[in-house]
């Protein structure tokens, strides 16, 4: 029978099926960060349990860590406690732990793929909704709650209903200046924030086939912002080339064996999805958000939607969000003065994002009134930035590189955008207060962020191409 990519991997991981269809699913890899794991470890202790398969668990603190002076103790005692607690738990239970300043420290969703811990065909979970990122490698990856972290630690399994499947196909060729982030923001705008709830999404089509691994990671990362359980892309030569020789990737004979297995991971031509959606690449332009959820996106050349364009039920939230953002319906978004720029996060904190940002700011100067936080997603990314001399380009343009971590994506560390200030951010959520109480977030890709950083206003990056 013809099967989807999702079904092929899922079916291989079913341990048991209950009479009502609930599935006991085997999990190949668990990632733990410091925020959503302490209560799970407590739960283990309370039940007198040990991790069932400790070698399948990796612990990395990323949410709380400062992006300056990581060699010093973390100042905020509460943040310090969470990070210390993860370290203590990892040690006590014999789990891999990459702490501050470790060469493999960074945002889990950046570190997993780039070290080869994440591999095609795997099932992979983390107490974090952006776990969907790893699906770009051809894995089933999704976010879970802390109770499920505890379950996975205790049994390497979780109880799940099989989600419905959706295929989102993007055909055609992207216009110059349009990035993977723009593709994702466009898809979310069209789908709305709840439009894929209950579904696991496979991305396909010419745009996806032509995308680099990092672009695919950006697209899958944002799947959750339209409510999807996860997103995934069939592994192909691009995936294998990316993975080869990474630290935890299989080697030698084992590599050949794995490649042969991974080559079978694609959706069979006759396989059925519960839903199929088609987009055209030519319709996508550089995107920004104007409101307080990622579905409130717009082409950078458009005007902020007027209330008549919002469906009845969404109007209260729409008005509330315009008020919060200090925007007026119908006005252009280009030319709006901004105060902060954040380049980073598990969405856009990879080397290609820094290359893109640097390509635009090269030879220009940061706008004097703009505070820019450029935060690599991991130490491996940081190292690559220096190897390629990108740090020099950034410095000459008046930017400073910070140390890796989640940073202003959720502002659990010191990198908080002050109330009322505007931040063009390459992260993934523009919720009220996400980047600090009262902060106003405009989501965008690395090129839009770069253009805003040098002009000080929201600017179409295509002006600089």
């Amino acid at each position: 029978m013809d099967k989807t990519l999702f079904d092929k991997i899922w079916d291989k991981h079913v341990v048991d099926t209950l009479a009502d269809g609930t599935i006991q699913l085997y999990i190949d890899r668990l990632y733990c960060h410091e925020v959503t794991s302490p209560q799970a470890f407590d739960g283990l202790r309370e039940r007198g349990l040990k991790p069932f398969r400790p070698q399948q668990v990796t612990c990395i603190p990323d949410h709380n860590i400062p992006t300056l002076h990581q060699d010093r103790p973390i100042e905020d005692p509460v943040s310090k406690n969470q990070v210390d607690t993860l370290e203590k738990n990892a040690k006590e239970f014999g789990l891999a732990y990459y702490g501050l300043l470790h060469p493999k420290n960074g945002i889990i969703h950046v570190v997993g793929p780039e070290t080869g811990l994440t591999q095609p065909g795997m099932t992979l979970v983390c107490g974090d909704s952006h776990t969907s990122t790893h699906g770009a490698m051809g894995a089933i990856a999704f976010g879970i709650g802390t109770s499920e972290v505890e379950m996975t630690l205790a049994t390497q399994c979780i109880m799940q209903r099989k989600p419905k499947t959706m295929r989102i196909t993007v055909e055609g060729k992207l216009r110059p200046g349009v990035t993977a982030k723009d593709v994702a923001l466009y898809i979310i705008r069209e789908m709305t924030t709840g439009g894929a709830t209950g579904y696991f999404v496979e991305y396909a089509g010419e745009v996806i086939r032509n995308a680099t691994m990092e672009e695919r990671l950006t697209i899958c990362n944002l799947s959750i912002e339209m409510g999807a359980r996860g997103g995934m892309i069939a592994p192909d030569q691009t995936t294998f080339d990316y993975l080869k020789d990474r630290e935890f990737a299989p080697r030698g004979v084992e590599w050949e064996k794995k490649i042969a297995e991974w080559r079978t991971l694609y959706t069979d031509p006759g396989a059925q999805f519960d839903k199929e959606i088609l987009f055209q690449a030519e319709d996508i332009e550089p995107m920004v958000t104007y409101g307080t959820n990622p579905g409130m996106g717009m082409g950078i050349c458009e005007n902020i939607p007027v209330v008549e364009r919002i469906d009845e039920a969404g109007r209260i939230s729409y008005k509330k969000s315009l008020e919060y953002m200090g925007f007026t319906a119908g006005e252009p978004i280009q030319g709006k003065t901004i105060d902060y720029v954040f380049l980073g996060s598990c969405t856009n904190g990879r080397i290609e994002d820094f290359r893109a940002f640097a390509s635009l700011v090269k030879g220009k100067k940061k706008a004097p009134h703009v505070t820019a936080w450029l935060v690599p997603g991991s130490w491996l990314v940081e190292k690559q930035i220096r190897v390629e001399g990108i740090d020099k380009i950034l410095e000459e343009a008046g930017f400073e590189l910070r140390q890796p971590g989640c940073s202003a994506c959720l502002a659990m560390n010191e990198d908080k955008v002050p109330a009322g200030k505007y931040a063009v951010s390459t992260s993934n959520r523009n919720f009220e207060g996400r980047q600090g109480p009262g902060a106003r977030t405009i989501l965008a890709g690395p090129l839009v962020a770069a253009a805003a950083a040098v002009t000080g206003v929201i600017t179409d990056p295509r002006e600089f191409l």
């Binding site: 048991d16 209950l18 009479a19 009502d20 609930t22 006991q24 085997y26 925020v35 959503t36 302490p38 209560q39 407590d42 739960g43 039940r47 349990l49 069932f52 949410h63 709380n64 509460v78 943040s79 406690n81 969470q82 607690t85 107490g127 974090d128 909704s129 976010g143 879970i144 709650g145 802390t146 109770s147 499920e148 505890e150 379950m151 205790a154 049994t155 390497q156 399994c157 979780i158 109880m159 989600p163 924030t193 709840g194 709830t197 409510g227 959820n293 039920a313 969404g314 209260i316 939230s317 509330k320 959720l410 659990m412 109330a419 959520r429 919720f431 009220e432 207060g433 996400r434 109480p437």
Partner: protein
């Protein structure tokens, strides 16, 4: 062992907003705790209190008019981050049931893993509940988990709701997934050796 859920008759707190995401339910700065206690006090923190920490008189939980074990919210409740802290905050504030016309997936699971029952109703039924609350803050709902029904006692209208039988069993008996999985360890080992 969690508290068992059976039949709950209670007044309710209406929150007629859509897309209430987990950052609103419990802002990120409260995620630094390493235990499950104390999140209830910070439920909807930034709506409940102003910057100086004074209660915002416009917010429903501060008005003292609406109380109860049931929270009724607009469509797409619990979207956004997967933080289970959102479920702990709701449970910690004394809610045992959340009613909406649509829930984000992860939130729904998290709620059930913490003994909070998410009840999905039709948009019309939801609108009617909000209207009843406006008319009479003492209006009550009856949520009957074994029979999978919810009744708006103000109008007498009721609806049945879906819940996966396995989860229902867990909630009614106060058990959780880990209890189940631990009892099935042999199967897991058999699966591993058969790969």
């Amino acid at each position: 062992m969690k508290e068992k859920i059976n039949r709950i008759i209670s007044t309710f707190v209406p929150l007629p907003l859509e897309n209430v995401d987990t950052d609103q339910i419990i802002p990120a700065r409260f995620l630094k705790a390493t235990t499950k206690e104390g999140f209830g006090d910070n439920l909807f923190r930034d709506w409940r209190y102003d910057k100086e920490g004074h209660p915002n008189p416009d917010f429903v939980l501060n008005q003292g008019v609406y109380k109860g074990e049931i929270l009724v919210a607009g469509k797409n409740f619990g979207s956004g981050s997967s933080r289970e802290h959102a479920a702990w905050a709701i449970a910690g504030a004394g809610f045992r049931v959340v009613v909406s016309s649509f829930f984000a997936d992860i939130f729904k699971n998290n709620a059930m893993n913490n003994g909070v029952l998410p009840v999905v109703v039709s948009p019309e039924f939801l609108t009617e509940i909000f209207a009843s609350a406006e008319k009479n803050p003492q209006a009550t709902l009856t949520v009957d988990l074994p029979n999978q029904t919810i009744c708006n006692n103000e109008t007498g209208n009721s609806e049945s709701f879906d819940i996966n039988p396995y989860k229902k069993d867990c909630l009614v008996n106060g058990l959780d997934d880990i209890d189940y999985l631990l009892a099935n360890k042999l199967k897991i080992e058999a699966y591993e050796s058969g790969r």
